[in-house]
């Protein structure tokens, strides 16, 4: 029980978020930028940060009446300026061509009225297609905008501004994972360091919105590699695959990862918020783009990552970070998890050739160098009798040779029995004996003594259990087997 509470300290709760992080680090003016999408857009843009393009904004009912609907492109997003939680957003994907009869009718009507005729101009039959395939007409849009202006979607219903924004294009990479909508990446930035991130994928449940509360998928991201780890759907419930498919949610490598982190730290700098969530989407053509910034980032990101945020924030608190690059680097280094370590291991492996000089330390402290064959065909390492004697295993060999081995039938099926029997009977008598090895080879089977040795291969210390055999007539006094090659990659050209 005590342990449970001890461990729970790594988790960030609502109380600590508000009191320890938002209150002291997010000044009021900065929060205003985060809450006001249009202001945020212009502040970011002024500072050279990519944001989605603004098409038009509508502030009053008069502006709404005067609005020229023909300026709207085929696809766009309509948003409330002070909306939150993704409410009040309408996204359309295409314009519906008016059906022929109505078009010709309205054309004649307009011609009669003396208005200019043309393809769908100013036509109230105009309609756009929404994510779910349903149509939305200009009247519907007008009504929605009236609601926005009236403050239906803003906190405490303050009058608001409606704006049209360019719709982002879905990156092909995300297509199989996404239901309608556009996935986005939430990065929590604190003290110029990106500390935690998640990928949010719209689902059917969330009706195409990348919002966890509405049922979107959230996948945790390893900070250094940008690879997804664990995932949840909605506010809880861990899942492995995209529902209804076999697509794994882990191991997705997010494109432009470093750019995304850089962008998020820049956004923090510009906004003046000390602790924030930055939402970034990737456009097919323009790459990573900031959607919005959030002064009150939610806590579910901890579940997606199966990691507490508080611990990470505390590690970053008070660090002196001067540049954006440094912040990104610190975040990647501190919060890169197991995946990265694995990769480092792979890339950090020493590369050796098929024959290498290895170094032994003799009992008198001198080092000797011998040529060894790097042999992935052998399981364990073998050394020559002469070398073994030099290394001080003379008594071992002497005692070993005095034992009568003829009683053992060297067949693969007897191996474990032989070993057990031999060790029980003789291990005590033979100095330094570690084990015995039963070797089956084309040149005949043999029972060999095994001793513990240590050598240096390419300056890596390898401790090994090597068997001793007569290699007098062979080219190499040592072969290094698979068992001792785990830390190396073999390049046959070397």
């Amino acid at each position: 029980m005590f342990e449970f509470f001890q461990k729970s300290r790594s988790v960030l709760g609502m109380n600590a978020r508000n009191l320890e992080f938002i209150r002291p680090h997010n000044p009021k003016r900065a929060k205003e930028i985060a809450d006001n999408k249009l202001l945020c857009k212009s502040v970011l843009k002024k500072n050279g940060i990519f944001v989605s393009g603004l098409i038009a904004k509508i502030k009053t009912a008069t502006e709404l009446e005067a609005f020229d609907w023909q300026t709207l492109p085929n696809s766009f997003a309509l948003k409330p300026n002070r909306g939150f939680g993704g409410e009040g957003i309408i996204v359309v994907y295409g314009k519906k061509k008016p059906a022929r009869p109505s078009a010709s009718m309205s054309e004649t009507l307009r011609a009669g009225n003396g208005f200019a005729t043309g393809d769908a101009g100013g036509n109230h039959n105009d309609a756009w297609i929404k994510a779910d395939g349903s149509l939305i007409t200009i009247d519907d849009l007008k009504n929605h905008i009236r609601n926005i202006i009236d403050g239906s979607f803003s906190l405490s219903n303050i009058p608001d501004i409606a704006f049209f924004e360019e719709r982002l294009q879905l990156l092909r990479f995300f297509k199989p994972y996404t239901y309608k909508g556009i996935p986005d990446i939430r990065v929590i930035v604190f003290n110029k360091v990106p500390v935690m991130a998640m990928l949010r994928l719209p689902t059917k449940e969330s009706s195409g919105k990348a919002n966890l509360q509405q049922g979107a998928i959230g996948a945790g991201i390893d900070m250094s590699s940008g690879t997804t780890t664990t995932a949840i759907q909605g506010k809880s419930g861990f899942i492995d695959t995209v529902p209804g498919t076999r697509l794994l949610l882990s191991g997705l490598k997010i494109p432009y990862w470093k750019d995304i982190l850089t962008l998020s730290v820049k956004a923090q700098e510009v906004s003046g918020l000390g602790f924030l969530g930055v939402d970034i989407a990737i456009d097919k053509e323009r790459g990573p783009i900031i959607l919005e910034i959030n002064a009150y980032p939610g806590l579910s990101i901890q579940l997606c990552n199966k990691t507490g945020l508080k611990e990470r924030l505390e590690r970053v608190r008070g660090l002196q970070i001067k540049t954006v690059e440094k912040g990104v680097r610190v975040g990647m280094e501190l919060f890169g998890g197991e995946i990265e370590e694995e990769m480092e291991n792979i890339s950090g492996k020493k590369i050796v050739g098929s024959s290498e000089k290895i170094k032994f330390t003799l009992p008198d402290g001198k080092e000797i160098e011998v040529l060894a064959k790097i042999d992935t065909g052998a399981y364990s390492t073998s050394i020559d009798i002469e070398l073994a004697k030099q290394l001080g295993f003379g008594p071992t060999l002497e005692s070993f040779s005095q034992i009568d081995l003829s009683a053992y039938k060297l067949l693969p099926e007897n191996e474990s029995l032989i070993k057990k029997d031999f060790l029980e009977k003789h291990k005590e008598k033979i100095p330094f004996l570690e084990d015995v090895a039963v070797i089956f080879s084309s040149s005949g089977s043999s029972l060999r003594p095994v001793v513990k040795i240590e050598f240096k291969l390419d300056n890596e210390i390898v401790s090994s259990s090597a068997n001793i055999t007569d290699r007098k007539n062979l080219k190499y006094p040592v072969i290094v087997g698979k068992k001792d090659l785990r830390k190396f990659l073999i390049d046959v050209n070397k």
Partner: protein, 218 residues
């Protein structure tokens, strides 16, 4: 008991403030503190602090808590149903709330009449102010529904109900009423308690549950 009453309360009574009123006012900080405690330490959210507080007093003012609960549930249910009914009309916010309040008011009126005709006079005898308070609850409910969705609005309504019931029993606890009459100054203890709550940065009980997977793992 009469003799034990604190002089200051006797003074209030002498000046014409009814004892019941004095006790209710003294209960106010206690219930408010209870609500703050439930939010900060247990994670029971409800509709802020005002709504559960006022509903608690509405319960106290109805004769018998079950009528109060009955009206509360009726208000929330009709609010939920009305939202679906009104959705296709795409109305602006305030007119929409006005319609809802009208409908809820009608529903309550019908309920009271039905209750009366079924000889459940207790329901009809509920005084008008608690009823009015609960009818206006519907606005809070709709606001949350728009901001956070149906599920959360329903959850918060339920939490509000639970807190209000707890508050009701706290405020009608004989022992506590007597205690406050004798030691009215003890309510000042709510101040340091709230200062502590206001500085409390630990996880809430609900968060221990929510993040148990992480805590178990790390």
């Amino acid at each position: 008991m009469e003799n034990d009453i604190h002089p200051i309360i006797s003074f209030f009574i002498r000046e014409g403030v009814p004892l019941k009123t004095v006790i209710l006012i003294l209960m106010l900080p206690l219930i408010a503190t209870l609500i703050a405690l439930l939010r900060q330490v247990f994670g029971v959210k409800a509709f802020g602090i005002y709504t559960p507080l006022i509903i608690t007093f509405a319960f106290l003012a109805t004769n018998g808590i079950r009528y109060g609960i009955f009206i509360f549930v009726a208000v929330i249910l009709s609010g939920m149903i009305m939202r679906f009914v009104l959705k296709p009309f795409r109305l602006l916010y305030l007119p929409r709330v006005a319609i809802m309040i009208s409908v809820v008011a009608m529903v309550i009126l019908i309920m009271l009449t039905l209750g009366g005709s079924l000889k459940r006079t207790g329901l009809a005898a509920v005084s008008i102010f608690p009823i009015l308070i609960m009818i206006t609850l519907v606005e809070k409910f709709i606001a949350v529904q728009i901001e956070k969705g149906n599920k959360i609005a329903f959850k918060l309504a339920l939490e509000t109900l639970v807190i209000s019931i707890a508050g009701y029993y706290l405020a009608s606890w004989e022992f506590l009423i007597k205690f406050l009459a004798i030691y009215p100054w003890t309510i000042l203890f709510t101040l340091p308690i709230n200062v502590l709550l206001g500085k409390w940065t630990g996880l809430r009980v609900s968060e221990y549950l929510r993040f148990r997977e992480i805590i178990k793992k790390s």
